[in-house]
Amino acid sequence: MGMTMSEKILAKASGQKSVKAGDIVWVKVDIAMMHDLLGPWLVDGGFRRLGGKLFDKEKVVVVSDHCTPPATVQQADILKFTRDWARAQELPYYYEFQGPCHQVIVEHGHVRPGRLILGTDSHTCMAGGLGAFATGIGSTEMIGVLLTGETWLKVPETIKVVWDGKLPHGVYAKDIVLKTIKDIGHAGATYQTIEFSGTAIEDLSMDERLVLSNMAVEAGAKTGLIEPDQKVVEFIRSKGVTEEIDMISSDKDAVYTRVLHYYASELEPQVACPHEVDNVHPVSAVEGKAVDQVYLGSCTNGRISDLRIAAKILKGKKISKNIRCLVVPASQHIWMQANKEGILDILTDAGCIVNMPSCGACGGFTSGVIGAGEVVMSSSNRNFRGRMGSPKGEVYLGSPAAVAATAIEGKITDPRKYLPKEVMV
């Protein structure tokens, strides 16, 4: 019987020829990733009580991103703790003020096909866009991983999601994933892998594939995988990785629990409405909803292609006087690229404020949280009650194009209106 990508990667990580969904296996971890908020300051006590010796410092990556720049003394203390810890452990890979961890580990070549990556953040699954089996764990579990390099995992079943055909103008990866989550449901993929495939997925850029895998956890999935191809190889080589790449793929006769089949050409822009990510409707159903803030950024949709789309829409225009528009590039590298391309000028000329790369207001941590009664249109990944600040606020999620169009009108807007065919990307 054939194996899925998940089964192959977990077989390799557990030193076995084959494993099948449902098996519980002890696995060796290729990368253990922690961020500031759920990393060293939470794990240090247990880690020291248990000997305090890292299994392999080359495989531990720490990214300070949630408390950056610190908005309170407590956050500053956490940041200092994290930095001091990384130094004391002589970690070769510590990143600070570089952007959200998921983007940073992708940009710095830590994510590679076939690797097993565990991180103290639920969106660690984003690394699946490059064919790595990546999933979120808690801080206590991370203590065990830091000490032994191992943990136990149940081999997940896989839901195959096939998107064939071409995306229409003004419709993006975010719309694909929102529609998929709507159909699978908030908990529909719990304990399972979502594997994205089909010609529409193959056509997506690396930037856009990461959107799909990033949000797999919003359907409860353990990870979201995309088979690596030449685009992935080129991307990883561009990060200076020279070692052989494990071009892992599911066997033709692999077993799936479900197969969902879609045609990209039939898709319209989608919006997730408060307060669940599966509360998804076509943009036409919510058009005209007044907003107070627009948020373009996050590890989901703050990449360079997202900023380019927003700049196309906002070039020569002004954002609505009734709102504020925050732009948060997903990394310092992206910030610099956007600056070089003149994108930041276009966005700031339109009235946007460019914040530094960090987790920021997406998780309600810093720089742009919302008050009671305020409404946000965001390109981020989660719209739970209280997620971005007040539990009496509301968060809608859409593509960067929908976010940019909404910024112009101050109310939720179909992005196709601002994307004449000749400038469609």
């Binding site: 248990l50 808690g138 908990a187």
Partner: protein, 165 residues
């Protein structure tokens, strides 16, 4: 940790996510200060009314969302005895076992009401509702985790495995 848990029920619905249990804006505070805000988005009186040993009963997908173990930390701070739900989100379920916070799935939690007195046997997966005089079937702890839970969670389990007293 005991395998028999007795307590009074607080009842909640579906999709009680980690942002509700442990709001992001308070995560950098010490746990006792975070705990004041636990569940406040859906139940502002939670921190005042909840008593040690109380049991949370909810619907589907309890604990969806973040990896944040602060969710377990604040519930443990309030000395919640156990959580019973139709289903749990994956990371939350795993984290709960790792820190020794009992989690039990049962098919239909609508038969349990707020204020009921429950008794849960984790080894047998048995839930007795003393208020209603009823008995329900819940999930047992997975075999490979019983030793970990007996020892009180992952940290004491690792201590034993690594030979640290």
């Amino acid at each position: 940790m005991s395998f028999i848990i007795k307590g009074r029920v607080w009842k909640y619905g579906d999709n009680i996510n980690t942002d509700i249990i442990s709001p992001g804006q308070y995560m950098s505070l010490p746990v006792e200060k975070q705990a004041v805000h636990a569940m406040e988005a859906i139940d502002p009186t939670f921190a005042e009314k909840v008593q040690p040993g109380d049991i949370l009963v909810a619907g589907n997908n309890f604990g969806s969302g973040s990896s944040r173990e602060t969710a377990q930390m604040v519930l443990k701070h309030h000395q919640i005895g156990a959580i019973v739900a139709n289903s749990f989100a994956r990371i939350f379920y795993r984290n709960s076992i790792n820190v020794g916070l009992p989690v039990v799935e049962m098919l239909d939690t609508t038969v349990i009401e707020e204020g009921d007195d429950l008794e849960i046997n984790l080894l047998e997966g048995k839930i007795i509702n003393h208020t209603k005089g009823a008995e329900y079937k819940g999930t047992k702890l997975p075999e490979h985790l019983i030793e970990m839970v007996k020892l009180g969670g992952l940290e004491p389990y690792l201590a034993k495995k690594l030979g640290i007293s």
